[in-house]
């Protein structure tokens, strides 16, 4: 097994694997889903500004290709679990934007009846296991989802997302060890957006190549261009195949970038405007797909139609989340124990 695992790891000398092309339908799907997340998040930011969303609100803008690429490779029976930066993951799981937005505004129609908030949302129906506010907690929990898959002998895979900052938590390595020891079907998806709040990976991590972090456990890993939805999907397919074949866990380091501050109240003074601008102009995941679609003969008009449709979904969600009443006070004491 050792040799096999090693051979799956990308070494620096390896050539970049060629990114397989998408069909037009795949491009359109990726475009639509990423755009939905982008517009949803922009709207959430705006609603935060209006005081409709309280507390912390962590936007996913810039990272859309990661969840969309993964979801294009995964099955509905695979489980998803992530951190507080979870709105995009929920949309990619197919959850109703109204329910997500209404949870952000703390209304009764929110996915958690308004009792979870933006950082703590769940959907049993869509196999979405949260939404976790404690950095790194979802890594052990996600490993447990994989444990349950193996226990039940089904072929579902746990898609466990966490950040570059979370990657320095001790429980991550406790989980890596058990996952490899017991050959659990879990993909550890490290969303390396280069910062944990104001701390760059270089200032926090002795080894910044996160895909290598499984080596002490003999766990394979790859670095992936997380701004290219095609690369994300292709890598996820490889990892899923590995997991479903019973070979154990797999690390995907998604190299990505968040455009906005860590949360709405972060002025992001720890990086230069030029750095952000460069990512936006040269690597934007949505613009990449858009450019390919246009080059492939899809008309501006067709894309405008998609844009309009997405905007209207988001407006409806915002409208619902604004008008829906707050939870009934009697909800204070429900859902504590079964």
């Amino acid at each position: 097994m050792a040799g096999n695992a090693k051979s799956r790891s990308k070494s620096e000398a390896d050539a970049e694997p060629a990114v397989p092309a998408f069909t037009k339908d795949q491009e359109l799907r990726a475009y639509r889903e990423m755009l939905l997340i982008r517009r949803f998040e922009e709207k959430a930011g705006q609603m935060y500004g209006m005081g409709l969303i309280g507390g912390f609100c962590h936007l996913y803008i810039g990272q859309e290709a990661v969840v969309v690429g993964v979801s294009m490779a995964a099955r509905p029976s695979d489980q998803t679990i992530t951190s507080y930066r979870d709105h995009g993951h929920m949309l990619a799981c197919g959850l109703d934007p109204k329910g997500v937005m209404a949870e952000l505004t703390g209304r009764r129609g929110g996915l958690s009846k308004g009792k979870g908030g933006s950082m703590h949302m769940f959907s049993k129906e869509k196999n979405f296991f949260g939404g976790h506010g404690i950095v790194g907690a979802q890594v052990s929990l996600g490993t447990g989802l994989a444990f349950a898959n193996r226990y039940r002998e089904n072929d579902s895979v746990s898609l466990t997302y966490f950040g570059d900052g979370a990657a320095n938590q001790g429980q991550v390595y406790e989980s890596f060890n058990m996952a490899e020891l017991w050959k659990l079907p879990v993909i550890f998806i490290i969303e390396n957006n280069r910062y944990a709040m104001g701390t760059s990976v270089a200032r926090s991590s002795a080894l910044t190549e996160f895909w290598k972090r499984g080596m002490a456990f003999n766990m394979p890993g790859e670095a992936v261009d997380g701004m290219d939805v095609r690369a994300v999907k292709a890598a996820t397919e490889r990892a899923l195949e590995w997991c479903r074949a019973g070979q154990g866990p797999y690390i995907l380091e998604m190299q990505t970038y968040r455009y906005r501050g860590h949360s709405m109240s972060d002025p992001a003074k720890y990086r230069s405007k030029e750095e952000v601008q460069k990512m936006r102009e040269e690597h934007d995941p949505i613009e990449q797909v858009r450019a390919r679609l246009l080059a492939g003969g899809v008309s501006e008009d067709e894309l405008k139609k998609i844009d309009a449709a997405v905007r209207s979904i988001v407006s409806e969600a915002a409208e619902f989340a604004t008008q829906d009443p707050e939870p009934d006070p009697s909800e204070l004491y429900t859902d504590i124990l079964l």
Partner: protein, 455 residues
């Protein structure tokens, strides 16, 4: 239609701010994501990004303006070829959240539901045959019976399988159920507690054995944040049916880091049930109930009690109600409330008191959360006096909670202040004499009972 850009709230506490700088001028084209202005909040200088696209038709609040209230219109964006003048109308005030009920002058907090203890029915037929067994055997049998009954129940922890349990509680389980369901873990409390909660969230019923609860401090984040709070945070969609169990409190001569009672800690957490049995019958009946319960449960055992024998009803399926105290000895002069190993002091003290003509009623809480306050209060209404006994520390301890409950529910019935007998307010010392001093003793309980009886 032209749209107003409003002064945004850019922190959880911001109410107003300074419009420090405009980065776009009237007439500029704006794409969503463009930074249009800088705002100084109560905490920092923040950039404002545009969400809507169009032309910056009009700036309503000039750069440098201070104390601009959140949600004041600061500029107007118009679509291509639109007239901006239409939009300078007063701002769309943010739709205030429709309130669920007509606002009362002061927001009324709904009453907390009373957790009433299960009804007073005999817990097993009076003529049930009894068998003597140790607490250790009772716990093992409880797990084995539940594992036979339900394939989703499994046990995991350090040394639970091949070694047969560090304290031999899981003896024989590996042989009967195999390595799939009796899982030896690495020494990785934080990780395996989280893993088990994840498995529980997906519908399995894990029993997590902590070699002792002292080590569960590394896992307490998952017990509280991941297990206890998820049902609430998910609006009732998913919880965790899971039992965290293992020896709790002081063993003997193992020093400060291995001798802590966590009953009070866990008992504070909504979303958890906390059980701390004394007898073998309670250990068996309550562990079976805990495994079946759909909620996360902290099940606190005691190493010193493991080897003690008690009568246990020999029934096919002996399950006890969670949340019900047991009157271990009836009396009418003073109520002594305790649980777990505290019961050994309480019962011995009651015997000693009887010799002096004081009839103590001894209540074994058995479940710390939800606490059977009703049974305690009923007893105190009869005796007018109460002493609590626990090995844990006094401040914010279980005895402190009982005292507060009695004061609220039975103040007029009290003939004396409640006295708490607790572990001393020190880390557990190692030296034999000091350790003895740090723990409660029978003499202290007797003295306290006499004191509240003014004898």
């Amino acid at each position: 239609m032209p749209t107003n850009i409003l002064m945004p709230a850019l922190s959880p506490t911001m109410e107003e701010g300074t419009l420090a700088k405009w980065l776009k001028a009237e007439g500029d084209t704006i794409k969503s994501g463009d930074v249009i202005a800088e705002i100084e909040t109560d905490k920092a200088t923040m950039e404002v990004e545009a969400v809507d696209e169009g032309v910056l038709a009009k700036i309503l609040v000039p750069a440098g303006a201070e104390n601009v209230k959140v949600n004041t219109p600061i500029a107007v964006i118009a679509g291509e070829g639109e007239d901006a003048s239409a939009a300078t109308a007063p701002a769309a005030a943010p739709a205030a959240a429709p309130v669920a009920e007509a606002p009362a002058s002061a927001p009324s907090v709904p009453a907390a539901p009373k957790t009433s203890a299960p009804p007073e029915t005999p817990e097993f037929p009076a003529d049930s045959p009894m068998v003597s067994m140790t607490v250790r055997e009772a716990l093992r049998d409880a797990m084995a019976e539940e594992m036979r009954r339900d394939d989703t129940v499994f046990v995991m922890g350090e040394e639970v399988a091949e070694y047969q349990g560090a304290y031999k509680i899981t003896q024989g389980l590996l042989q009967e159920f195999g390595a799939r369901r009796v899982v030896d873990t690495p020494i990785t409390e934080h990780g395996f507690a989280g893993l088990a909660v994840g498995a529980a969230m997906s519908g399995l019923k894990p029993i997590v054995e902590f070699m002792t609860f002292n080590f569960a401090m590394q896992a307490i984040d998952h017990i509280i944040n991941s297990a206890a709070k998820t049902l609430y945070m998910s609006g009732g969609q998913m919880g965790a049916s899971i039992v965290f169990r293992g020896p709790n409190g002081a063993a003997a001569r193992v020093g400060a880091q291995h001798s802590q009672d966590y009953a009070a800690w866990y008992s504070q957490i909504p979303g958890l049930k906390v059980i701390a049995p004394y007898s073998a019958a309670d250990a068996k009946g309550l562990l079976k109930a805990a495994i079946r319960d759909p909620n996360p449960i902290v099940f606190l055992e005691n190493e010193i009690l493991y080897g003690q024998s008690f009568d246990v009803p020999r029934l096919d399926d002996f399950v006890l109600p969670i949340g019900k105290a047991r009157i271990a000895r009836a009396g009418d002069h003073v109520t002594i409330v305790s649980f777990a190993i505290g019961m050994t002091y309480a019962l011995k003290a009651a015997e000693a008191l009887a010799e002096e003509g004081i009839n103590a009623e001894v209540i074994d809480l058995r479940t710390i959360r939800p606490m059977d306050v009703e049974t305690v209060v009923r007893s105190v209404m009869k005796t007018g006096r109460c002493v609590t006994v626990e090995e844990g520390w006094p401040q914010s301890g279980v005895g402190a909670e009982i005292s507060a409950q009695i004061m609220t529910e039975a103040f007029d019935y009290l003939d004396a202040p409640v006295i708490r007998i607790c572990g001393k307010d020190v880390p557990m010392p190692y030296a034999a004499n000091l350790e003895k001093l740090a723990l409660p003793n029978v003499g202290e309980v007797v003295a306290a009972a006499k004191a509240v009886c003014y004898r």
